[in-house]
């Protein structure tokens, strides 16, 4: 059901949204400056209208993909009638133009959310926040409409499309970009709040409480997005790597690290009214890194395996947007930051100091990623050296800061606010410290080889997880077990969120170290019927056959896996060939387990007969992403905390009693 008119309506809605954004950028800002309530009130309906118009444009583009309307150039280039429906839909953002439209859709969604749920904010601050948010939207609407318009038409619609890159026809990668964008763009809210506060010249505890949920939500989405991408790389690229320190991965990791720092420093602003100007700076930098990420992904100045719409001209425009917003915000910061007077005082040993250390470690590790990512560019431009910065550099330069962070985390999170004593904080942790060291020793004794990586991972994992448990336990009073459990249940959700996220971090650290240290690999030529051992498992190639999928041909192997005489499972790795895109892919088969993954890949038929087969035993692989999910879940719990909900509800119904935490 092609409807040419509909497509043009979508195009028009996008242009209209651009106009609304311009109005929303100017009118409320002037209104806030002059104290004109009517002008300020423009922001709210404008944000809603902007979102609805962009949503309509996005829906129309999706419709174009669903109905395979090849009069749209974008659909022709990225879709095909044979493609499964789900990938027709996800194909909307599987390309540069569509993904930019998704980007602005999310940008306007956040603006609208701030308008809908911003009742508790002072009118002036809200008007300014929405105006800054609209300013960002204006820049990106202009970028989409003038350089990356998804609604360009073809005069003579072709009969069929060119298909989406087969690598993107995968559930993991299909949902990876929306989460990442929710994260990237979510940080625009923190940015808008920071700039609005700078214009206002005032930051107080309430500001900290308002900015935190947005940062928390953005960070959660980034966590899930990064985890999905890493999981996808793990099962799709065919050799079980999960992180490559590729520029595009780094582009998402830098804002994640800064957002993590921002979450923690915003707590200090909220609870103690200290670290104000630093928090503002972090909020600006976090979104700055998001924009830098967009630049890296879309400009192609840094070569990446994720090559995606490489276009230096578009990259240049994003760089200009980055320069305007980052430069403008930092200038404003330089002028106004002096006015942010800290109220809370604290001694050298205190939770505040520990959180400063946390911020230093996170910010510096983000800087490591930053300098490593752009160094090839700098070296070429300034020193005329063509060089590469790869995983060995990042492993060596980044890891120490994360190890340090994991070591101080449990102590810092138990220290008292204002003035603490190390001895008192260390006491409940002593048992966990002993356990961590003992288990690391045990791991060292059991493992083959002398690698320190595994045992260190065990020690840090136990220490961080134990620290989080000890923190909760300590807050449960001194009565009997039943009473302590009851009290623990009643702790605020934010406390549970903190513990869950920290446990997640410990689990991920352990998972990464354990998998890297203890994985086993086997590469060989196997004939049908061959059987061989890897670690405690035997693998047997039972059969190789060929089949036809919806838009690909596949070579499919059956490999049974045995432990002694017991059959564990049978895996069917595939090697697919997508005819339209003329591209082969490997589909590894993985038996997921809590303690280990069995990972099997089938390769080419060999000249002398038999097939190339790769087999991995990867211990604790799923703990890496399990930990990431726990981190995101912790963010979720914290987000549902009473004090963050009360703010919004209280303005409507001052007498309403908040629901007690479950």
């Amino acid at each position: 059901m092609h409807c040419p008119m509909l497509i043009e309506l979508g195009h028009f809605a996008l242009i209209l949204a651009f106009g609304v954004a311009i109005v929303q950028m100017i009118v409320p800002l002037v209104g806030a400056h002059r104290g004109n309530a009517g002008w300020m009130a423009v922001a709210e309906p404008a944000a809603t209208v902007q979102f609805l118009l962009t949503g309509f444009a996005f829906a129309v583009l999706t419709w174009g993909f669903v109905t395979s309307d090849f009069s749209l150039q974008l659909v022709y280039l990225n879709s095909h009638t044979d493609k499964p429906m789900i990938y027709k839909i996800t194909g909307v953002w599987g390309n540069h133009e569509g993904s930019m439209l998704l980007w602005v859709l999310i940008l306007t969604l956040f603006g609208a959310l701030a308008a809908w749920f911003g009742d508790g904010l002072p009118a002036r601050l809200r008007a300014r926040v929405l105006a800054v948010q609209a300013a960002i939207a204006v820049a990106f609407f202009a970028f989409v409409i003038f350089t990356s318009n998804p609604f360009l038409r073809l005069e003579v619609p072709p009969l069929n499309g060119r298909d989406l890159n087969p690598l993107l026809q995968d559930p993991g990668l299909a949902f990876h970009p929306p989460f990442l964008y929710l994260g990237y763009v979510g940080l625009s809210m923190s940015f808008s709040f920071a700039v609005a506060a700078l214009i206002e010249g005032r930051v107080d505890a309430a500001w900290g409480r308002w900015v935190r949920p947005w940062t928390l939500a953005a960070w959660m989405f980034l966590t899930v997005g990064i985890a999905l991408g890493s999981w996808w790389a793990y099962y799709e690229l065919g050799w079980g790597g999960f992180w490559f320190w590729d520029p595009v991965e780094n582009a998402s990791f830098m804002p994640w690290l800064i957002a993590a720092a921002l979450l923690h420093s915003a707590i200090v602003v909220e609870k103690r009214e200290a670290l104000k100007s630093w928090t503002i700076l972090l909020a600006i930098l976090a979104f700055g890194f998001s924009l830098l990420g967009a630049f890296i992904v879309r400009s192609g100045v840094l070569t990446s395996v994720h090559a995606f719409a490489n276009d230096p001209e578009r990259g240049m425009l994003i760089l200009i947007i980055l320069a305007i917003f980052l430069g403008g915000a930092l200038t404003l910061f330089a002028v106004r930051a002096g006015a942010m007077e800290s109220k809370g005082v604290f001694s050298t040993v205190s939770r505040e100091s520990a959180l400063i250390l946390n911020n230093i470690l996170l910010a510096v590790s983000s800087f490591v990623v930053f300098i490593g990512t752009i160094w090839p560019l700098v070296a070429e431009l300034l020193f005329d050296r063509t060089l590469s910065v790869g995983p060995p550099f990042f492993d060596a330069a980044f890891t120490p800061f994360m190890v340090a962070l994991a070591i101080v985390l449990p102590l810092g999170s138990i220290l008292a606010w204002k003035r603490g004593t190390l001895g008192r904080a260390a006491k409940p942790l002593l048992g966990w410290l002993i356990l961590a060291v003992a288990l690391a020793g045990l791991a060292y004794a059991i493992q083959s080889g002398n690698s320190a990586l595994g045992p260190i991972g065990v020690a840090l994992g136990v220490w961080v997880v134990g620290g989080a448990v000890a923190d909760l336990w300590m807050r449960s009073g001194r009565e009997g077990l039943a009473d302590r459990l009851r009290r623990m249940r009643r702790l605020p959700r934010a406390d549970w969120g903190k513990a869950t996220a920290h446990i997640g971090m410990g689990v991920t650290i352990f998972g990464i170290a354990a998998m890297l240290a203890w994985q086993k690999e086997d590469i060989r030529v196997a004939e049908v019927g061959d059987r061989w051992d890897v670690g405690q498992f035997s693998f047997q190639l039972d059969n190789v056959r060929q089949e036809r999928g919806p838009n690909y041909l596949t070579t499919l192997a059956e490999i049974s896996i045995w432990r002694g005489t017991r059959e564990v499972t049978t895996l069917e790795p595939e090697k697919r060939f997508y005819q339209v895109a003329n591209m082969p892919t490997t589909e590894a088969a993985i038996a997921n387990g809590i303690l280990r993954d069995l990972y099997v890949v089938i390769g080419d038929p060999q000249e002398g007969g038999g097939w190339a087969v790769r087999v991995y035993v990867k211990p604790f692989a799923n703990w890496i992403w399990g930990g990431a999910i726990l981190m995101a879940l912790g963010g979720c719990l914290s987000l549902s905390d009473r004090r963050l909900r009360v703010g919004a509800a209280a303005a409507k119904k001052p007498t309403a009693k908040a629901v007690p935490a479950q």
Binding site: G241, V305, I360, F383, T386, V389, I523, V525, M583
Partner: protein
């Protein structure tokens, strides 16, 4: 016929990193070759090591590297051989010569500076004063007396 075509396509597009045929029989030597090739960038690919890459050149380099090791090169000699051929571009771990010192030491330096700034900022702050100020004491006195 279709399957023949498929097989030809598959053969024409090898998708593999290290292939069984390339591997050395000596496990110690093979282990060394793997770990060296993980640190060498494939010159024609997008940011991949020759160990991971499926490109024809990467395969060739893997074989050349193994030949050097079999011929008795040390790890450093084998790596230098590659650098002499393709430039420092192939090193995934950049060396510490010249400007690269900035790359390696900027972050640790920044960390120390940040620690220093943080430390002095915290120390210079007035330490939390739990007591009452003189004005407050006077106020309290007044209230108590009345």
């Amino acid at each position: 016929m279709r399957w023949l075509l498929l097989t030809l396509c598959l053969l024409a597009a090898p998708l593999w990193a290290v292939e069984p045929g390339e591997m050395l029989d000596d496990p110690v030597l093979e282990e060394r070759a793997r770990s060296i090739s993980q640190g060498l960038r494939c010159p024609v690919c997008q940011n991949e090591s020759i160990d991971e890459s499926n490109a024809a050149l990467a395969k060739e380099l893997r074989i050349v590297l193994r030949e050097r090791l079999v011929a008795g090169d040390t790890d450093a000699e084998a790596i230098n051989f590659m650098v002499a051929r393709y430039g420092e571009f192939v090193l995934l771990q950049p060396n510490t010569r010249g400007a690269n010192l900035i790359l390696w030491f900027a972050a640790p330096a920044l960390f120390l500076i940040a620690l220093g700034i943080g430390w002095t900022a915290i120390r210079r702050r007035p330490v939390a004063d739990e007591g009452l100020s003189d004005a407050e004491k006077a106020e309290l006195e007044k209230i108590l007396r009345s």
